[in-house]
Symmetry: C2
Subunit: 114 residues, 2 copies
């Protein structure tokens, strides 16, 4: 019997830092990133998060509803972080709200579902 | 007048390398990654791609239809890369097929839409 898949939501946040970021604007960025990750995890409806950064940074967070995403966007400390981000930390960013429709996974230690 | 948003699709590929990856299994991985990126861009329905890797790797590719995603998954050289990936390059990966429902963007040099 196939388990029914319950759709959920992903927020894909893609960003670049300004050219002078390493010299001038890094102050407070790492602390704010960590703080936002902790805060996000405390929100209702938060399901998980992955982040990586090279030339571009990609953070994908997962949520159980659009309502949860909206609440997180409007969370007061997060609003301040967004303002600071636009002011100092990012030269560009893009946010995509997505509905996860299906997924599959591979693990070395288990039998593959392929 | 607000431009109508046309939904499209994102494939979120999240992965980890095995512990011994740096020592033993890296051979051919970078070349294959580059080759797959070039190939993906040649597929019908390909819209874009972003990648970054630290502890986890995240690659998000964008497509104009589920059909395009299916065709890419089944592309013969890509099928070989997937097999090699499961055999040597990844200890774990997860693939999520998502419908992008809306998005917004910020750029330093333009007026923000916030």
């Amino acid at each position: 019997m196939k388990t029914e898949f319950k759709p959920y939501y992903a927020v894909i946040f893609t960003s670049t830092h300004p050219d002078n970021f390493r010299d001038e604007n890094i102050d407070g960025y790492s602390e704010m990133s960590e703080k936002m990750e902790i805060l996000a995890k405390q929100q209702n409806g938060f399901l998980g998060m992955d982040s990586a950064r090279n030339a571009v940074g990609i953070t994908v967070s997962y949520w159980d509803s659009l309502e949860a995403i909206k609440n997180w966007k409007q969370q007061s400390e997060h609003v301040q972080a967004q303002q600071k981000g636009r002011q100092d930390w990012y030269s560009w960013y893009n946010v995509k709200i997505c509905k996860v429709e299906r997924e599959y996974e591979f693990k070395t230690t288990s039998s593959s579902d392929f």
